[in-house]
């Protein structure tokens, strides 16, 4: 059980870790869809800001820690129920990013964030891809 995210130094990465996999050649990245040109794996791995992965995985780690604590205190049913509820909300509440993205209220309540505000709530950092590939990814 981790309270803070692990320091993620990769010993090896697959060639498709940092982008979408191309449909026709599953070992390669989809350069056309990604719209960023060929991805430099070296620059994705080396010389990154020390905080980056920590902040990226912060909420996930906190959530997992909470679920693990629930499991130890209340038994397996509690985290299973919470995960199911969260999944139901995420699957039923959908609006494409180009139309403003889905409302996060139900999710915030389940994540116990409905009475707090952070920079992540203001700077959402979602890059708007075309609606078709977004729905495609969603339904996959």
């Amino acid at each position: 059980m981790n309270v803070v995210p692990d320091n993620t130094h990769h010993d090896f990465v697959s060639s498709t870790k940092f982008g979408q996999v191309a449909e026709h050649a599953p070992a390669l990245q989809d350069v056309l869809r990604g719209q960023e040109g060929p991805v430099s794996v070296a620059s994705k791995l080396n010389n990154r800001h020390p905080l980056e992965t920590r902040i990226q995985n912060w909420e996930k780690t906190q959530h997992e820690t909470r679920l693990e604590t629930y499991r130890r205190v209340f038994g397996a049913g509690e985290p299973i129920r919470r995960t199911m509820e969260l999944e139901i909300v995420e699957n039923s509440d959908y609006k494409p990013l180009i139309l403003g993205g889905s409302d996060s209220m139900s999710r915030d309540i389940l994540m116990a964030k409905d009475a707090s505000l952070d920079w992540e709530d203001v700077f959402k950092g979602e890059s708007v891809v075309d609606m078709h590939s977004e729905i495609e990814r969603k339904l996959k």
Partner: protein
Amino acid sequence: MPGLSFDNYQRNQFLAAKGFGTPRATSTGTTIVGCKFAGGVVIAADTRATAGSIVADKNCEKLHRLAPQIWCAGAGTAADTEMVTQLIASNLELHSLSQNRKPRVITALTMLKQHLFKYQGHLGAYLIVAGVDPTGAHLMSVQAHGSTDIGHYQSLGSGSLAAMAVLETHWKPNMTKEEAVQLCAQAIELGIWNDLGSGSNVDVCVMEVGKDAELYRNYKTPNVRESKTRSYKFPRGTTAVLKERSWQVVDEQVVATGEPMEVDA
């Protein structure tokens, strides 16, 4: 990635390696103190903001409001103390609305330390948090990495050594409000004189149980700017009058006379 963007980090590293200077944050080389007294707590701060060896602001405000009766004094990176306290102030308000209770100092402190710990000291905010809540008066401090302290008197910032000398010498338990304000103001003034990062004026905030918090902006102004030895204001009549012309404006009324205008019937 939501939140802070690290997109330009590699580019900035590259530019720095090529010899382009990276921008530096304005830091408040600071003296801030806090001190408890019978029935309340008082915090005080100097008002100098520095950017390297330059004084960036001679009268900046380092006392921030977290809640109506919880205030905090900030040292470290000026922007970080400002933004972190604003964010925590919003969260405290949301929390108190959700709980339907007045915010507590320990809540503010926990929010601050959890937020700062997440960013591992990259947010350079060193704060003294003080306030009164239903459980009494409290004085605490939090460091940039998320560690916290509780005490009857606290000092932080580059002038904290000078200020702490005063607090250690003159602090005694159960002081009156006036004594505590005097003590804090004196501690800040020692920081102003003996620390190059601190200067200008003394700001004080007093929080008393059962009363509104009182902010004394520029409680002491020991560094009032001297008037210039020579005045550059010219007295009236310094410039000679070369030519003078005057017009007499007469209010002339035109009275319409003669036949009325013909109108087609």
